[in-house]
């Protein structure tokens, strides 16, 4: 009895851990790791949801010339410091300044570039 309850307990603990391991990125979170880890910083996570509450799509995707494809724009810190792309707002004037490195560079190690949280990322395979 005791041995069995012990085994069951172990099974419960394992069963309880499995769903905890499954993680769900917020829909449309963009992860960018084209250069970050190679340059020694954590990958970037861009939350679409936070930005679309405040700005329409066209502000970034037309006015700021950010392309609709994860990792295809060729964003570098030099360009941001020059006021391009994210740097147009993240300058301490419209939004917080880019010296808050770890607010963007907050991805876990080994993160691949892409758009997360959608149908393509949670299924057993791509369509």
């Amino acid at each position: 009895m005791k041995r069995w309850s012990g085994r069951l307990l172990t099974m419960f603990v394992i069963a309880g851990l499995v769903p905890a391991v499954v993680a769900w990125a917020e829909y449309a979170d963009v992860t960018i790791n084209t250069q970050s880890e190679a340059e020694g910083v954590a990958p970037v996570i861009f939350p679409h949801w936070f930005h679309r509450i405040r700005f329409q799509c066209s502000v970034c995707h037309v006015d700021l010339d950010i392309r609709m494809g994860a990792g295809t724009t060729g964003i570098t810190m030099e360009k941001l410091i020059d006021g391009q792309y994210c740097g147009a707002c993240h300058n301490g004037n419209i939004a917080w300044s880019i010296d808050n490195c770890d607010l963007c560079h907050s991805g876990r190690p080994g993160l691949e570039t892409g758009v997360k949280g959608g149908h393509e990322t949670m299924g057993p395979g791509l369509y």
Partner: protein, 199 residues
């Protein structure tokens, strides 16, 4: 001496059994509460939607910056719910004035140029025809976001299939990634086909 041992063993067994039952009950309750369709791995359990950054699987929970970020749940609390994507009806939120996304970087927001023009696409299959509303799209986007790179602005010039959309082309450039996913069939396939004489 053996009597006491036997009795204590019996008590231990009963207690162990009861504890096990309680655990089973709690586990099944928790399971039922999280989502009745828990077996479906593709379906996001309601309790796990809009997870805070440290728990979303892509942020590094050990990074101090992760814990300073706003949680989606907090931001979405006042916004109308939907069944997929961010679980927010973004257009309704904008129409109701709950969010006021700017259309320029300047602090003075000018009204966007909204085009109220519906395009009906008659589909080959048995699904209802697609009604594409320019209005909802131009509330967020500029003409140049779609024209002419994604859609040629000419009637009949664009071949669109669900396969290409699922591969991230045409509507799939946004729908399935940022805008509501293609699982919301009837939001696009919304105009019933006209009944023919044969029917």
């Amino acid at each position: 001496m053996t009597g006491i041992n036997m009795r204590s063993l019996a008590v231990l067994m009963i207690a162990g059994g009861l504890a096990l039952l309680a655990m089973l009950l709690l586990a099944s309750l928790a399971e039922a509460q999280s989502d009745p369709n828990r077996f479906n791995r593709l379906m996001k359990p309601a309790a796990e939607r809009n997870a805070p950054p440290p728990e979303d699987g892509i942020h590094d929970a050990d990074s101090p910056g992760t814990h300073l970020l706003q949680t989606p749940r907090e931001a979405f609390d006042a916004l109308p719910d939907s069944k997929s994507g961010n679980y927010v009806q973004w257009n309704a939120a904008m129409d109701e004035g709950l969010i006021e996304p700017r259309n320029s970087l300047t602090m003075v927001s000018t009204p966007p140029i909204v085009l109220d023009l519906n395009i009906v696409r008659e589909v080959k299959g048995s699904m209802p025809d697609v009604v594409y509303p320019h209005k909802q799209h131009t509330q967020w986007l500029d003409c140049s976001n779609c024209h002419p790179a994604i859609f040629i602005p000419q009637k009949g010039a664009n071949q669109i299939s669900m396969a290409s959309i699922l591969l991230g082309e045409k509507c799939g450039v946004c729908h399935g990634k940022v805008a509501f996913p293609v699982s919301e069939c009837r939001r696009c396939h919304s105009r019933p086909k006209e009944q023919t004489a044969a029917n």
